[in-house]
C-alpha cells in the first residue's frame, strides 16, 4: 500500500527531517510509527498526504507515484486517504453531522446518500446521538472520534493518523485505538504516528521507529502476544 524508497526531506536552511528513509506498509496492515518529536514521524505522514514533497526519493501510495501527482490533482488524491490529526481539525462553526459530511460534500455525494454514510460513520465511533451538537460541546475524546468519523466516512482504503491520542488520557486513547483496530479488521490499512510506546506494545502491532530522520527499528510484533487475537478480560477495548 505504501512504498517509500530512500526518501530525503531537506528544509530550506539545510535541516534534514528525513535522511533516506526506506520502508513499506502492506495492504491491510496496521503500523505504528514512533520516535521523539523531530524524529521525522510527521514529515513521513506529510509526504504521504502530499502536504510536502520529498527532496529526493520516491513515495508510492497504492501504486501511485506521488511525484507524478500534479498540484491540480492533489485534492483528488487526498480524497482517497483518510486523515486523523492530533488537534482534530474540526470546523467549530457547524455541528458534528456537517463536519463528518464534509468529505462527502467535497466528493459530490447527493444529500440522502451522504446522510446515510454520515450516520454509519458516526455509529461506528459511537456518536450517533450527538450529530446535532457543536464540536465545542463535546469532550476532547469525542471530538477526536468525530475527526475519525470524518476520516472514514468515504471508506478510504488507507488511513493515516498523526498522534491521534496525543491529547487524550489512557482510557480514551485505548478507546480510539480500539476503533482503529476495528477498521483494520475490515481491511483498512492504517499508519499511525504515536509516541505512546506503552500503548502500542499493548496492542501488539508492527512498529517502525524513527530517529533523526532514519529508520532504527522495524519490529513486527504480530504473533503470539497479539492482544487482539484473544479477547481477554484485561483488554477493555475488546468487546
Amino acid at each position: 500500500m505504501i512504498n517509500i524508497e530512500n526518501a530525503v526531506k531537506r528544509f530550506p536552511g539545510g535541516q534534514e527531517a528525513l535522511k533516506g528513509l526506506t520502508m513499506s506498509v502492506a495492504r491491510g496492515e496496521m503500523v505504528f510509527v514512533t520516535g521523539h518529536s523531530g524524529a521525522g514521524k510527521s514529515t513521513l505522514l506529510r509526504l504521504i498526504a502530499l502536504i510536502e514533497r520529498p527532496t529526493s526519493g520516491q513515495v508510492i501510495v497504492d501504486g501511485q507515484n506521488l511525484a507524478r501527482v500534479s498540484r491540480r490533482r492533489i485534492p483528488a488524491y487526498r480524497r482517497q486517504i483518510g486523515m486523523v490529526f492530533q488537534d482534530h481539525k474540526l470546523l467549530y462553526d457547524r455541528p458534528v453531522f456537517d463536519n463528518v459530511a464534509l468529505p462527502l460534500v467535497i466528493a459530490g455525494f447527493g444529500h440522502r446518500e451522504a446522510a446515510r454514510k454520515v450516520r454509519a460513520a458516526l455509529d461506528q465511533v459511537g456518536l450517533l446521538h450527538k450529530e446535532r451538537q457543536l464540536p465545542e460541546t463535546l469532550s476532547t475524546g469525542e471530538q477526536q472520534r468525530v475527526g475519525i468519523a470524518r476520516a472514514i466516512v468515504t471508506r478510504p482504503k488507507l488511513l493515516i493518523a498523526d498522534e491521534p491520542t496525543g491529547n487524550l488520557d489512557p482510557d480514551l486513547s485505548l478507546e480510539v485505538m480500539r476503533i482503529f483496530r476495528r477498521f483494520n479488521e475490515v481491511g483498512v490499512t492504517l499508519l499511525i504516528a504515536s509516541h505512546d510506546i506503552a500503548l502500542i506494545d499493548q496492542l501488539g502491532c508492527r512498529r517502525i521507529a524513527l530517529e533523526n530522520g532514519a529508520l532504527v527499528l522495524d519490529a513486527d510484533e504480530e504473533g503470539g502476544d497479539d492482544g487482539f487475537d484473544a479477547a481477554t478480560p484485561d483488554e477493555p477495548w475488546r468487546d
Binding site: P75, M83, P103, I106, A107, G110, P156, K157
Partner: protein, 320 residues
C-alpha cells in the same frame, strides 16, 4: 484516480449528476446568503456602500434621460416665431397664416392672436394687475411656424429669409441654438458620467474584493482543513464567489430602491415644473431594462471582485 475510494466516488456521479450539482450550488448559494445574514451590520454596510456607489451613476443617468426627454420637445423646435408688425390686423394675420401653410416646406402654422397671447400672459406671469395699466395690448400677432421635419439647414434658412422679407414681418426669431448647446452639454455630462461610472465600478470591485479578502482571512483555518481533506481550489472558492454575487445583487437592488426614493422625494417640485409645462412633462423613472442592467452590473462587479480576491488569496492558503 481509479484507486483508493474509487468505488465510492463512481456511484455518486452516476446517481443524477446534474441534479446533485444543482443542489450543491443552490445549497452554497443559500449558505452564503445565510452567512451574510448572520452578520447583518457588517454585510449591511458593505451592501449600502455598493448601493450608493451604483445609485450615483444611475441617478445621474436618470437626470440626463429626463433632461433629454424635456428638451426633445424643444428640439422639434426647428420651430420659429414670426412676430407681425403691430398694425397688422387679425384678418391679415389669418390670411398670411393660410398663405404660409400652403408652402411645401412648411409643416404647420399656428397663429397666436395678440388678445389670446395677452390673456395667457396675464394668467401665467402674475403681472395681471400691472397689465391693466397698459392702454393697449403691446403684443403683436405671432405666427409659430414649423418647417417640414427633416428639412435641411439650407432649406430652412431659405424659408427664414423669404418669411423675414414679407412686408408684414416685424421680427423673425429662431431660438433653437441654445437647445443645441444644451444638448451638447448633456452629451459631455453623459460621457463624464460614463467615465465616473467606470471609476465607481472599479471602486466596487475593490470594496467587494477587500471584503472577501477579510472573509477569507477569517476563515483561513476552515479553508486549510477543507483543503486537507481533499477540497479543490474551485470548491473552497465557490462560497466566496456566491458571497460576492450576493453583495452585488443586494447592492444593485438597494441602489434601485435609493433611486426610486429619490424620485419620490422629487415628486413635488417635478409636479410644479410639469404644471409650468402644461402637464406635458412627465418624469421618467428607470425602466425594466435599465433596472436589470444596474442589478446585473452589481452582480458582475461582485463576481469579478470576489473572484480576484479568491483567486489571489486561496492559492496561498495551503495546509501546513
Amino acid at each position: 484516480m481509479a484507486r483508493l475510494g474509487a468505488q465510492e466516488a463512481a456511484p455518486a456521479r452516476r446517481s443524477g449528476p446534474v441534479s446533485i450539482w444543482l443542489a450543491r450550488h443552490a445549497g452554497t448559494l443559500v449558505g452564503s446568503l445565510g452567512r451574510l445574514a448572520r452578520q447583518p451590520l457588517a454585510s449591511g454596510l458593505t451592501v449600502l456602500v455598493i448601493a450608493v456607489t451604483l445609485a450615483l451613476p444611475a441617478a445621474l443617468h436618470l437626470v440626463i434621460k429626463n433632461a433629454r426627454s424635456l428638451s426633445a420637445g424643444w428640439q422639434s423646435a426647428l420651430d420659429f416665431s414670426l412676430y407681425l408688425a403691430p398694425e397688422t390686423s387679425l384678418a391679415d394675420a389669418e390670411r398670411l397664416r393660410d398663405l404660409i401653410a400652403q408652402r411645401a416646406d412648411v409643416a404647420g402654422v399656428q397663429l397666436i392672436d395678440k388678445d389670446a397671447a395677452l390673456a395667457e400672459f396675464r394668467e401665467g406671469s402674475g403681472f395681471g394687475a400691472a397689465l391693466d395699466y397698459l392702454s393697449e395690448n403691446p403684443l403683436p400677432h405671432t405666427l409659430v411656424i414649423r418647417p417640414v421635419p427633416g428639412s435641411s439647414e439650407a432649406s430652412v434658412s431659405l424659408l427664414h429669409e423669404e418669411l423675414a422679407n414679407l412686408p408684414e414681418t416685424d421680427l423673425l426669431q429662431v431660438d433653437t441654438e441654445w437647445v443645441q448647446r444644451f444638448l451638447a452639454i448633456l452629451d459631455i455630462v453623459q460621457r463624464a458620467i460614463g467615465i465616473g461610472g467606470i471609476l465607481l465600478g472599479a471602486a466596487i470591485i475593490v470594496i467587494i474584493g477587500n471584503t472577501i479578502r477579510l472573509d477569507i482571512e477569517n476563515r483561513r483555518d476552515e479553508i486549510e482543513v477543507t483543503k486537507l481533506i481533499g477540497a479543490s481550489n474551485a470548491f473552497v472558492r465557490r462560497p466566496f464567489l456566491y458571497t460576492g454575487f450576493w453583495y452585488g445583487f443586494l447592492g444593485g437592488g438597494l441602489a434601485l430602491a435609493l433611486v426610486a426614493y429619490g424620485l419620490y422625494a422629487l415628486r413635488v417640485p417635478v409636479a410644479r415644473l410639469s404644471g409650468l409645462y402644461g402637464n406635458r412633462f412627465e418624469m421618467l423613472s428607470l425602466g425594466l431594462a435599465e433596472s436589470a442592467v444596474i442589478v446585473g452590473v452589481g452582480v458582475l462587479l461582485g463576481l469579478v471582485g470576489s473572484w480576484l480576491a479568491a483567486a489571489r488569496h486561496m492559492r496561498r492558503i495551503e495546509p501546513r
